[in-house]
Amino acid sequence: MKNLRSHITGYSTYAIILVFLLVLTALSVVVTGYHLGAFSVGIALLIASVKVATVISYFMHLRSENMFLKVAVSGVFILFGLVIIITFFDYLFR
């Protein structure tokens, strides 16, 4: 049975996304030049997270996938985040 969801993304869409990703990459390099102390990790990770979300949504087509998969992908990141946070319950309070 043919898939009803034959949604074809155009080449130009992908090119625009790449430009966006390259801009963010340049931004993250530039930002490291500034002395922001503890914030620099946060900003670098924030930019990286936006890039990751973009690749997942557009290049990996999560945008057009079913709700279960979207929830599962988010769940995986949240779960991993929780594991890191809980590990730091030990390291930050020793």
Partner: protein, 543 residues
């Protein structure tokens, strides 16, 4: 659908496919044959692991050296743990009964990826063989304990890398099986079978599969780190290089605690199938049992630090982990309540599957409650690293998962092989096993409280009477296991033909012949009813 006597179909055991003879097994992609191959390997390794345990118990029958020295003893408890944990109980019920019955119970002809399933089996077999090889090749059997704690796992001159590699490969097998089962449940359910019309064993397998997929990779990378530590001195866990040995413990238990839920969730699923059949009424609290499986899987991810209360972690993290540990007990307790409520008012048929299932509840309760004793920070200090812990986990794993496995074997044996075993001998075996089990493990709680350390090959004279009784209990337990095995083995060869539905069950596996045909069903079934429907008058109107 024909009964077995009719011979109007070809069972999966007699089906003639592309390959003949032994190749028809080694190259099969039939989930039922794969399940049986796992069953065979697991049974062999179970008796190897049990024999190692019996040897340990023999050493402990009296203080001082009895039959072996301390190095040998350390090697024994290490390989006993590796085999029992990585080769038997983690794969255990998933690969045997999950493989055999998950597709059937959801009305499918096979799993989502049959060839991947076969690959999982070969990875498993390779890992199991490597674990044995680690005993004999090179510089001696590993003596680190199955938990490979640093720094000793880095310093020990024994074959640690062999064992780590074996565990890594076994983990990879587990991951692929979990992946296969998740996709199977999502994509292969028969028309009309929504998630909440699925029987509860598939629910349990589904929850387990998520843990397999999301926890096992962490132990994979951790084992690689230990190898990097041994080979390169990479330093993550070495304080002399700036690392933290407790970081290893975090990483190790981030997997190994969820791993125990990989062990117990399928076991709970098995007994959840048995109770309605042998009470001839629907499961009480279907939704609660389904959701609690997911709750256990989820909450169980956040309790790992309770293995590390005496390791030097922060007070705040200890508080957190203790609280979460008490929380994770709640969904398990909900299940126990629902099982008992299922039995209540039912038409009870005390056959071997039910005997083992009821034994499961009793032993699992003891294991679970003693887990709470360890989960409380103050009492943990008294019992950590003592026989109390050993008794706790044997009650949960052996008394819990083991008895559920025996229950499942006695429940599904007629379906898998088309033969019936001798009920009387099965009951006798149960009695001996149950008696031996409690005589063996219960006293270990007592001497654990009194200070008997675990993983010690010798002990103070005051522990001698109980250690002696314990060892006798172990021998009784083993005899019971042997009787059970002989009974089943004999039935496979010479048992009476079993009907399609010897226990009057109502789930899909009992609607097809014993043994099933290759593709399970004549056509794909259409599901209209909820899974445990015993007739209108017995319908649970609340569900």
């Amino acid at each position: 659908m024909g009964e077995t006597g009719g011979e109007i179909y070809i069972s999966y055991l007699k089906h003639k496919g592309k390959y003949k003879g032994i190749l028809s097994w080694l190259l099969t992609t039939d989930h039922k044959r794969i399940g049986l191959m796992y069953f065979f390997v697991i049974t062999v390794f179970f008796f190897i692991g049990a024999s190692l345990g019996a040897l340990m118990r023999t050493e402990l029958i009296a203080p001082g050296q009895t039959i072996m020295g301390p190095q040998t003893y350390n090697g024994l408890f290490t390989v006993h743990g590796i085999i029992m944990i990585f080769v038997i109980v983690i794969p255990g019920l998933s690969v045997v009964f999950g493989n055999f019955f998950l597709p059937i119970l959801i009305g499918a002809k096979d799993v989502a990826f049959p060839k991947l399933n076969l690959l999982s089996f070969y990875l498993y077999a390779l890992g199991a063989v490597l674990a044995v090889v680690s005993q004999f090749a090179g510089s001696g059997p590993p003596d680190t304990g199955w938990s490979f704690y640093v720094p000793y796992s880095v310093e020990s001159s024994t074959n640690v890398i062999f064992a780590l590699t074996a565990a890594f490969i076994l983990g990879f097998s587990s991951i692929l099986t979990g992946l296969n089962f998740i996709v199977t449940v999502h994509r292969m359910r028969a028309p009309g079978m929504t998630f909440f019309k699925m029987p509860l064993f598939p629910w349990a397998i589904y929850a387990t599969a998520w843990i397999q997929v999301l926890a096992t990779p962490i132990i994979g990378i951790t084992l690689l780190m230990v190898i990097a530590e041994r080979v390169f001195g990479i330093g993550f866990f070495d304080p002399s290089l700036g690392g933290d040995p407790i970081l290893f413990q975090h990483l190790f238990w981030i997997y190994s605690h969820p791993a125990v839920y990989i062990m117990i969730l399928p076991a709970m699923g098995v007994v959840t199938e048995i109770f309605p059949t042998f009470s001839q009424k629907p499961v009480f609290g279907y939704t609660a049992i389904a959701v609690s499986s997911l709750a256990i899987a989820f909450i169980g991810y956040f309790v790992w630090g309770h293995h590390m209360f005496t390791s030097g972690t922060s007070y705040f993290s200890r508080l957190f982990f203790s609280l979460l540990t008490f929380l994770v007990a709640v969904p398990s307790a909900i299940k126990v309540f629902n099982w008992v409520a299922t039995l209540y008012g039912g038409s009870i048929d005390l056959k071997p599957p039910l005997l083992y299932a009821v034994g499961f509840i009793f032993l699992f309760m003891i294991g679970g409650l003693t887990g709470l004793i360890q989960g409380a920070l103050a009492t943990n200090i008294q019992v950590h690293d003592t026989s109390f812990v050993v008794a706790h986990f044997h009650y949960i794993i052996f008394g819990g998962m083991g008895f559920a496995a025996f229950a499942g074997i006695h429940y599904w044996f007629p379906k898998m092989y088309g033969k019936m075993y001798n009920i009387r001998f099965a009951n006798i075996a149960f009695g001996i096993i149950f008696t031996g089990f409690n005589l063996f493990y219960f006293p270990q709680f007592i001497i654990g409280m009194q200070g008997m350390p675990r993983r010690y090959f010798d002990y103070l004279p005051q522990f001698t009477p109980i250690q002696f009784i314990s060892t006798i209990g172990a021998y009784i337990l083993v005899s019971g296991l042997v009787i059970m095995l002989i009974n089943l083995f004999y039935a496979r060869r010479k048992g009476a033909p079993a009907p399609a539905n010897p226990w009057k069950g109502v789930t899909l596996e009992w609607q097809i012949p014993s043994p099933p045909p290759l593709e399970n069903f004549d056509g794909i079934p259409e599901i209209t009813r909820r899974p445990y429907f015993f007739g209108e008058d017995k319908a649970d109107k609340k569900d």
